[in-house]
Amino acid sequence: MLRTPLREALLRPLRDGALAGFVALVLCLPIVGLPTSETANGLILRPRIPEAIAFAVAVFLGRFALGVAEAGRPRPVALIALLVAIAAPFIRFAPEFSAALAIGGLFVALRASLLAFPTLAGRITGGVKIPPVAIKRAPLVILALLVVLPLTPVIDRRLLDIAILVLTYVMLGWGLNITVGLAGLLDLGYVAFFAIGAYAYALLSISAGLSFWGALPIAGLCAAVAGLVVGGPILRLRGDYFAIVTLGFGEITRLIAINWSSLTSGSQGIAQIPRISFFGVADFTATPDAGRHAFHELFGISFDPSHRQIFIFYVILALALAVNAFIARSRKLPLGRAWEALREDEIAAQSLGLNLQRIRLSAYAIAASWGGLAGAFFAVRQGFISPESFSFLESAVILAIVVLGGVGSQLGVVLAAIVMIGVPELVRQLAEYRMLAFGVAMVAIMVWRPSGLISRREPSIRLGAAP
């Protein structure tokens, strides 16, 4: 990097910093400086002008520091920024300010040290070249770990809960990957099918007395039928228009769940959803009902409330693996190839005799049915569902998992689900900064790995000596 003279190295960053600081001040004054607060007498304004100014100054300093680092003096900047980040928590001013300073300091330190050590930067930003062998073996290793995970002593109830949650999102991510990754359709309302599956199981089990195992295929079927009915007309739309309509469909489904209270008990939700049984053979209780068996008696072990949870873990693992196996298989079948062909080039695919409508519809409905199965699982695990669980945010999170993971990459979805769902759950204590860190992570991924964590698509067919 060119090392510019000191005067010049300071002048430009000063100007840039002043500009950034000014913009920050304009933004911070109303947002940070004039918060409303609720009192007995209604909403009042509590001006916090010093805080707003402090933020603007921090932005100025950060931009200035970045500028100096870029002008050829990254090492001192990295050091100072790191010190600021470390000192930040001890500043007795405003907690948000400390947090912003810490994150900003770390960011500047990271950027500056990447500039200071370009080889390191190359190694990180040039796309961490994940060796193909690692990608090939990773799924097996992860799978083996997952299978033994619940049986190891390190796992406690909370960790297992998080693992189940992550796996649920992995399953949803893989399901959505059929529409988004394989068929190339941007579906912003995937949560609708999740909701339909959940309500299907809840209602079938409560009113018709169906067990989870009996209701599961029906829940999948309900979602698939919904996919067919909705998909029929909307799949005629192209690109963005399709995305917007799916977004609407997701919201409409939620609103129906709220307003059709005679069926769904509205926003109160449905509670007391029957628990999962051991394949209908035995229940996970200490004292089974008359005529039923208990799981621990069946296996002659002593009762432990965690048995059910461990069983649920294996159920979602099996469901997720089923989606994965389905996708892996379908890629090698004419149907999966047709999905990919339509994604790659609609016109060419149609002129080869592919029926655009029908093939898209199949992708949409099949993805829907997997979403429905995941929904049924969600309902049986929670024992309670309400429309709140199926907001647009869920669709967005699932889509973010697919996109961040690398569209079409199965392993990428797993990594993204861990990053997006698992890590925030693990650091729940830092709840205040969760969204902030989340935002930083999203930006970092977009800057450094714009095509997703794993952007390689495995060719579906490998021949002969190919590795």
Binding site: P334, R337, A338, E340, A341, A348, S351, L352, G353, N355
Partner: protein, 238 residues
């Protein structure tokens, strides 16, 4: 075999075809030559139903196909190697060929694949490679081979020589002749490279501003002063 009568078609808001009538007979190679923007590609796409002809009749083997959808037209036995090749870039060569074979009986797949590879050995060498990583010439070979996998009765080729080195162009044209000779496939060829196209074609049409300006056998047009002047860089060259 294929008969277009007074076809009018729009490319966006522009009337690209202003009443075109052409005929392709069984077993022929027919070339359609003309300058950039004359409406050659629109004509091929109109045969495939996208854009749809606003006026006129397109008959294939006696059936009016002007109201059918693209995939239904393909089903009748028309295949195309479209403008810009349009291979599926992230799928492998073999996957591309398998997609081409959707309409052919599955039992014929191995035979058809062997034929395609015999015609374009490069594709066999690269069959596990993604189509997007192929060179332009190889992509053109793949586009033609993919179209042939469906055992079409009629093959439409849109500018197969575009952007390719002369040596590759000769290979491609030799392959087109072979397809016509060995498989009996009828070919409708759209080309800017008028010289090569006219040498290959039994008959040809010259399209100017959305209208057929002249027609004749390939040899006749090659000899015509008018065509030489307009498309072959003036008399005496080539």
């Amino acid at each position: 075999m294929l008969e277009l009568t007074d076809i009018r078609s729009f490319y966006g808001a522009i009337e690209a075809l202003k009443g075109v009538s052409i005929e392709v007979r069984q077993g022929e190679i027919v070339a359609l030559i003309g300058a950039n923007g004359a409406g050659k590609s629109t004509l091929l796409m109109t045969i495939f139903g996208s854009p749809r002809a606003r006026h006129g009749v397109i008959r294939f083997l006696g059936q009016d196909i002007s109201q059918l959808k693209t995939h239904e037209i393909a089903r009748l036995g028309i295949a195309q190697a479209p403008e810009g090749r349009r291979v599926f870039p992230r799928l492998t060569v073999l996957e591309n060929l398998k997609l081409g074979a959707i309409l052919a009986p599955a039992a014929n797949f191995d035979r058809n694949l062997a034929r395609a590879y015999a015609m374009f050995p490069r594709l066999e060498e690269r069959q596990a490679q993604r189509a997007g990583t192929l060179s332009g010439g190889e992509q053109q070979m793949l586009a033609i081979a993919r179209a042939l996998m469906s055992e079409p009765k009629l093959l439409l080729l849109d500018e197969p020589s575009l952007g390719l080195a002369p040596l590759i162009v000769r290979q491609i044209f030799a392959a087109i002749a072979e397809i016509n000779r060995e498989h009996g496939t009828t070919v409708l060829l759209v080309e800017q490279n008028a010289h090569q196209a006219l040498k290959l074609a039994n008959r040809a049409y010259v399209l100017v501003n959305g209208r057929i300006q002249s027609t004749g056998t390939g040899a006749e047009l090659l000899a015509s002063d008018e065509v030489r002047e307009a498309y072959l860089g003036g008399a005496g060259h080539h």
